[in-house]
């Protein structure tokens, strides 16, 4: 019994250590490489950089319109996430809580959006966005991304709502609260972890999407950050250091946002707030 326990403990810590190494290793490697010169990356790929100079970072900002793209990405990220959470929160609630005709069909249709291959959507979506007059506008990207996040948010939120005991709302209804009031006052507050998780997923989608961002915009005034990365990946480009610096510039904010948001994500409910 004791041997089993020790064995399990070793296994557990070994597993955790492996996961941490696999996650942190690549990130640290890029971080260090972003301070190295080309020659250092090629000859001394594991070691420390000879100096922590920011010249790669300065070059990165010079080569691509990073600051402009940053602002756009923040706008698209925030509003794409809010729009998605609002709409999908409502839809998921209706689908999780009530039975009505056509519900299965609706769920199947929404599931389709999880499956349509991106390459098959490029041209049709360009046509749609152009027809609606949303081409080359941030609002166009916001709507499209809210749509892209539809299935994931729907699944996460539906699944979360199913965990919440029905008694919560029933008592509210008995107290005479309206449908809308119940949703916003009772359901939303206790679904914070669900919304937090869906929100993080949605934000990352908005922050990282590249293919449609380039198809649906033309001017730098409506382009987002992932495009900046490709300024360093031209066919005849060879400067690794600057490329890694640009990668860090793109990654770090999303990591910060995640660290700040994760309290919301996994905070959970105050013990005893919900009695099953």
């Amino acid at each position: 019994m004791r041997i089993l326990k020790i064995g399990l403990g070793v296994l557990k810590y070994g597993f955790v250590l492996l996961i941490v190494l696999l996650s942190l290793g690549p990130f640290l490697w890029v971080f260090l490489a972003s301070f190295k010169t080309n020659a250092e990356i090629l000859t001394n790929s594991l070691g420390w950089p000879s100096s922590f100079s920011f010249s790669n970072y300065i070059m990165a900002f010079k080569i691509a319109p990073i600051s402009r793209f940053y602002i756009n990405s923040v706008i698209v990220g925030i509003f794409g996430t809010l729009l998605n959470l609002l709409l999908l929160g409502m839809a998921a609630y209706a689908l999780a809580r009530f039975h009505f005709r056509g519900k299965k069909l609706l769920m199947a249709a929404f599931s389709l959006s999880l499956l349509i291959p991106g390459a098959a959507m490029l041209q049709p979506l360009y046509l749609t966005v152009n027809t609606l007059g949303l081409y080359d506008k941030l609002i166009g990207l916001i709507i499209v991304y809210a749509g892209f996040g539809l299935p994931v948010s729907l699944y996460i939120l539906t699944s979360y709502f199913l965990t919440i005991p029905k008694e919560m709302e029933e008592s509210a209804y008995l107290d005479g609260a309206s449908f809308i009031k119940t949703f916003f006052k009772i359901i939303l507050p206790i679904s914070k972890p669900g919304f937090g998780t869906a929100g993080v997923m949605q934000f990352l989608l908005c922050w990282n999407e590249f293919q449609f961002a380039i198809i649906l915009t033309t001017g730098n005034q409506s382009r987002t950050l992932p495009l900046a990365l490709y300024y360093f990946k031209s066919q005849f480009a060879s400067d690794y250091g600057v490329m890694f610096a640009a990668t860090m510039v793109v990654i770090i904010p999303s990591i910060l946002v995640y660290i700040l948001l994760q309290k919301q994500v996994v905070s959970g409910l105050a013990a005893g707030a919900v009695k099953g």
């Binding site: 597993f15 955790v16 996961i19 996650s23 942190l24 690549p26 490697w29 890029v30 090629l42 790929s45 594991l46 409502m90 839809a91 609630y93 209706a94 999780a96 009530f98 199947a108 599931s111 959006s113 999880l114 499956l115 349509i116 291959p117 991106g118 041209q123 979506l125 046509l127 749609t128 749509g147 539809l150 994931v152 539906t158 699944s159 979360y160 199913l162 965990t163 005991p165 029905k166 949703f183 972890p193 669900g194 937090g196 998780t197 922050w207 990282n208 999407e209 590249f210 990365l229 990946k233 793109v250 999303s254 990591i255 995640y258 996994v266 959970g268 409910l269 919900v274 009695k275 099953g276």
Partner: protein, 291 residues
């Protein structure tokens, strides 16, 4: 209750239906419609019935290989990947000293865009200066130069390893769900003297049925869209060793300029995905609540 609330249910659903139509409807119609045509950019589609589908199933070894790879990846992702994430969530839920740190760090690779992850692994696994080979060499094997992404022996595995262990999304989904389970459910078991292991196995995991099912669907279907990392690392090679359906669709449409054929592959992919989703929904009885 339903009758009374029908108006509100409609009100809650309409915006999302509208969003769905704007973003997906045109694509779906074009996708299905043109899959029965011969259509390339610059030409009008010509109706050819089932010809695309017949060619697909009878005379296309690249398609068969892509489909096989896709199936393998969907399977691995919906089993091993989800299992890794679940186990890690349960370990983190013990809230030992490292749990916050580990939870944050685990998310890093998922935060980074697929293209950047691809670029990163391409450098880490570079046979010449990559970190992995450098580590092997530092243990004495000075000439070690495994070409991870191009060698037939390792290509498939290398590509798989760029996403299989990174199940942080599963982990946070499950942690959020655990947080919503009332503590009281475990307390009585603890009083009865059940070990943590037993509590996890017999009380916790069954309660996570819905969310694990959701994770299986999300993780599995994400493999039906996986493209950027593969494009960045192997491009589907060597040969068609790491080709999957999304890449095959992309190549037939934009490289061969054969949109009609590409869309018939797209329809096939959707059909396969729907079967997978329905299977999972039934398997995990998703949609029924706990009580």
């Amino acid at each position: 209750m339903v009758r009374k609330n029908r108006r509100y249910i409609t009100l809650f659903l309409v915006p999302t239906v509208a969003l769905f139509i704007v973003v997906y409807a045109v694509s779906l119609v074009i996708l299905f419609g043109t899959s029965f045509t011969e259509w390339s950019a610059g030409r009008k589609p010509i109706f050819i019935g089932l010809a695309n589908y017949i060619e697909l199933f009878t005379d296309d070894s690249n398609f068969r290989k892509s489909f096989l790879n896709t199936v393998i990846w969907v399977f691995l992702q919906s089993t091993i990947h989800v299992a890794i994430g679940t186990v890690f969530a349960i370990i983190l839920n013990l809230k030992e000293f490292y749990w916050k740190f580990a939870r944050t760090v685990y998310m890093f690779p998922n935060i980074i865009s697929g293209a950047a992850v691809g670029m990163l692994f391409l450098c880490l696994l570079n046979p010449d200066f990559g970190a992995v080979n450098s580590i092997v060499r530092s243990f004495g094997n000075a000439d070690y130069a495994q070409n991870w992404f191009m060698d037939y022996a390792t290509a498939f595995l290398s590509v798989t390893m760029t996403w299989l262990p990174y199940a942080a999304v599963v982990t946070i989904l499950i942690l959020a769900e655990i947080a919503a389970i009332p503590e009281s459910l475990f307390e009585s078991a603890r009083i009865d003297g059940a070990s943590e292991m037993k509590i996890n196995l017999y009380i916790l995991i069954p309660m996570l049925r819905n969310i694990i099912g959701t994770c299986v669907i999300l993780a599995g279907t994400s493999m039906l869209q996986k493209m950027d990392i593969i494009m960045m690392t192997t491009g589907g090679g060597p040969g068609n060793e790491t080709m999957n359906l999304p890449i095959y669709i992309y190549k037939t449409a934009l490289m061969d300029n054969n949109f009609g054929y590409s869309n018939s592959v797209g329809v096939f992919l959707i059909g396969f995905g729907l079967i997978f989703v329905l299977l999972c929904r039934n398997l995990f009885r998703i949609g029924s609540s706990h009580n």
